[in-house]
Symmetry: C2
Subunit: 202 residues, 2 copies
């Protein structure tokens, strides 16, 4: 399989952690990508009209995206339980994934607003609205995330969300006001898949 | 069940069509909502930190979102096949759903740029980038959508995408350059679930 890769995309990270947890990372070749909402990468667009990373090319030549679809596909071919087979457990896992993806979507929109958009077009209310979403998500995760449930796609997504806040939103200092989440993230970061680093071959 | 409702949200429409196809629409009570990225609806935020529609409250009091999670939940409780049980068919369906959601995400961002954001902060390159995504998706759907495959969540999503373009992007005149998609949409629009209209009780 081949994966359009960006070293800083939290959604690419989510897919790669998922693949590593499933024992599939050696089967995925990383492809260079320069995806941006305003300068579209035509090598990706040729496979995925949205021109986004992550995009996976399966061994059968099918292009799969977005991260949710890729992760579920990888889980299926590994016949694993990151998407639990029990329905109630699955709803819980995919709901947590949706909240984590929502945190990331909001964080990315805030990032595009403050770093991609020319300064003169910055609309502070938009950025504030997105950051408010991030904060509401953090408060919810603080109250509802426990480390003792079975490991699943929701946990991977949340961890990628927190790692992205560390990368781009240092100023939020999320650990200071979320002690349970801080502890949870420390624990989950010990997993081999989270410690691993990915890069393109030279 | 209860669903935070907006009459113009394409994602709410997707959930309601899904529910109707599954014979579940009579079991869903619609709740008023005023979700906006900059003025967050606190009645939704109390249940869903992202403050977005659609948000479903199950009979057990669990809040589920986003549209993908809600549709899969409804499909599961109806024990139906809008998310096919066969894995290969499911990958195909959820990949098509992801492309349709991607079209909608891009269309909504373009809409926010041109109608929600104050004119002086409009960044044309951003709007153009999003509309380019919509056009790439349409071209892909034109080449790859056939009406003879089994009906699934991907078809519902695409139809909601096209209906949203009719509602907000008249100027794109998508039918003119996508004759196969135009025919496909005419056919699928004949389904009872697509013709139905939803509104809040007085």
């Amino acid at each position: 399989m081949k994966l359009f890769f960006s070293p800083t995309s939290p959604y690419v990270k989510k897919v790669l952690i998922c693949a590593d947890e499933l024992g599939l990372s050696d089967k995925i070749e990383l492809l260079p990508a320069k995806a941006s909402p305003v300068l579209r990468d035509q090598s990706i667009v040729a496979k995925n009209p949205l021109g986004k990373v992550p995009t996976l090319l399966t061994d059968e030549g099918v292009a799969l995206f977005d991260s949710r679809v890729i992760c579920e596909y990888l889980n299926d071919i590994a016949d694993a339980d990151l998407f639990p087979k029990d329905k109630r457990a699955k709803w819980n896992a995919i709901a947590m994934q949706a909240l984590g993806d929502g945190l990331l979507d909001a964080a990315l929109l805030a990032r595009y607003e403050s770093f991609l958009r020319p300064q003169e077009f910055l609309w502070k209310d938009w950025e504030t609205g997105q950051i408010d979403k991030v904060k509401s998500c953090l408060a919810d995760f603080e109250n509802n995330t426990s480390k003792d449930s079975v490991f699943h796609i929701g946990h991977i997504t949340l961890a990628c969300g927190l790692a992205y806040l560390d990368l781009r939103f240092d100023y939020l200092d999320w650990r200071a006001s979320h002690p349970k989440l801080k502890f949870w993230f420390e624990e989950i970061s010990k997993r081999k898949s989270f410690a691993k680093e990915w890069s393109l071959k030279e």
